[in-house]
Amino acid sequence: MSIRVGSYLAWKEMWRNRGRFFLVSLVIALITLLVIFLAGLAEGLGAGNKEYLSKLGGELVLYQDRADLTVSSSQLGRSIMNKVRRTEGVADAGPIGTSAALISFEGALEPESVSLIGVEPGHPGEVSVVEGEQLSNIRAKEAIIGRNVALRTGLGVGDTLVVESTQGTVDELYPLKVVGVSDGQQYFLQPSVIVPLFTWDRIRPKGFVSDSGGELTFNVVNVAVENPLRAEEVARQLEADIKNIEVVDRVTAYENAPGYTEQQSTLNTQRGFTLLIGILVVGGFFQIQTLQKVGQVGMLKALGAPNFLVAISATIQIVTTNVLGVIMGALATFGLAAAMPSGIPIIFNGNEVAIALVTLLIIGPLGGLVSIRYLTRVEPLAALGLGG
């Protein structure tokens, strides 16, 4: 009986006071908009920083020791590759070199900034293409571009892009043929252009004098292990066999991408405060409403309505108002996002947004808990002014 009558009373009250309840839903919708935007931004900025590393094929990333797990600070020589590949438990390994570069192309008004990433074709580190072909060999004058680059520049498979690179004090131009388009790979918040390692070494910006003693250097090695469950064991083995290196898993690698942790914690703090405001707004509204209807609730109890019925009724109202607000907010956010220009680092389909939505759905009942507790404690006697 309690659930049926509780629902009946909850719906009747909401319908007959729909303006008031809608207003609260609207406030929740705005909070939702803000929280999802922050979550989308966190996801987008995070992905921009870590996307390439997070999508690596191999489970482990090998850095130069004392590079503080910073890709750009890490410098490894090609000689290390054989040692890595020979280590027990290692299935394959691929070198990765990164640098910043500018690309230009036919019809471009201004050069585009990209992350130039050098990989060894057929080994971990090379990205999979969704269109076109993989890189053919380690010296090929070819490039795989991320979908973001393709969208932004209009480049496609078969087109030619030109890497503008400063070699010492001279700007050199290196034409490369686009052979494939990968999904939206980004690194350092910049769209990526993936090239063969030797090509990368030749065209990356550098001074005349190489400090590597003639050996080809790159930044990190991506290692695929035979048994992912034993990845930790292989990492320790690599560190024991090869001097001056540090091996971590992929998650640790991207969490150490420059600024990633700081950026994420800033956004998470903002999101936390917004959610806290949400709890206070929902809690405040229902508490004020509760205080206004102490007499009514007392009367209902005097008529024989059990506490459970009163609590169910209030819970239904809180949950419905909240769900309605979250749905409105989510729809508004996605509508707004659709109207936004591409390239803004906001992602609405990641875990962050899912977590934000679930959290938003929880904050309503959480905010309303105080008022539900208050309602169950209303004395029919006091509420009716019966005091002897």
Partner: protein, 252 residues
């Protein structure tokens, strides 16, 4: 032989407030019979409201017994008292009388819903009762769209619709003008008698005792007088019952 619906024995209520002890109800024993409408009167602080609250199961007596339709309600657990209030008691209050987001009809039907007795027949009976109370064109109005008298009549219908053993009214005429007050209490009394319920009305307004079978007067927590003689009741109600009745007719 008259059937006893309510029986109180030596009911006492003592409030302990810091260093003060107040005896609000002092060893009150009374019986209420089926088909009887009783007025509980007395000055402020006489204990009548505390007595009503204890009978309703809203307040636990300090001592004594309250037996309603064969059940001892005084020392019952709260959940059981809630059930007794829902099934066996009908209420009309002075304020906060109706659920403000339910229409007149929905307010009446609420008691049927709370007792899991809401069906087509219950709906028809609710409409019939409200029609009887002159509210046939106000069925779908919210309390804010009703006058004070109309609201009290809806409350009366609600207190009777689930066929309770006992009907309690706390100052039902407090916010009404004289004409409406007479109209409301007279209708209430008629329905209690017609449906063979037992009713108690707490009131300050002695004119209203005219419609009651018995008047119980309380003072300082004790029973002072019990009037059951018609002439005495009429005298208490207005000294001149004929003139009083004519006034009521005129006012109607």
């Amino acid at each position: 032989m008259m059937e006893t619906v309510l029986s109180t024995r030596e009911v006492t209520k003592i409030y302990e407030l810091e260093d003060q002890v107040i005896t609000a109800v002092d060893h009150v024993s009374l019986d209420l019979f089926r088909g009887e409408f009783v007025a509980l009167v007395g000055p402020s602080g006489s204990g009548k409201t505390s007595m009503l609250a204890m009978i309703a199961g809203l307040l636990t007596p300090t001592g004594g017994e309250i037996c309603l339709d064969g059940e001892e309600v005084g020392q019952m657990r709260e959940s059981k008292r809630t059930r007794v209030r829902r099934e066996k008691i009908g209420f009309t209050f002075q304020a906060h009388n109706l659920v403000n987001y339910l229409t007149a009809l929905e307010n009446v039907e609420l008691m049927l819903r709370l007792n899991s007795r809401y069906d087509k027949d219950g709906q028809a009976r609710s409409i019939e009762l409200l029609t009887r109370l002159g509210l046939e064109d106000r069925l779908h109005n919210l309390p804010t769209q009703l006058s004070g008298g109309q609201r009290q009549r809806v409350a009366i219908a609600r207190s009777l619709i689930h066929e309770p053993q006992l009907v309690l009214a706390d100052e039902p005429t407090a916010n009404l003008d004289t004409a409406l007050a007479h109209q409301v209490v007279e209708t209430f009394s008629e329905l209690v008698h017609e449906q063979n319920r037992a009713g108690i009305m707490v009131t300050h307004d002695l004119r209203m005792v005219l419609y009651c079978d018995r008047v119980i007067e309380m003072e300082d927590g004790r029973l002072k007088h019990v009037l059951s003689d018609r002439a005495q009741i009429e005298q208490l109600a207005g000294n001149d019952p004929v003139r009083n009745a004519e006034t009521v007719k005129l006012l109607k």
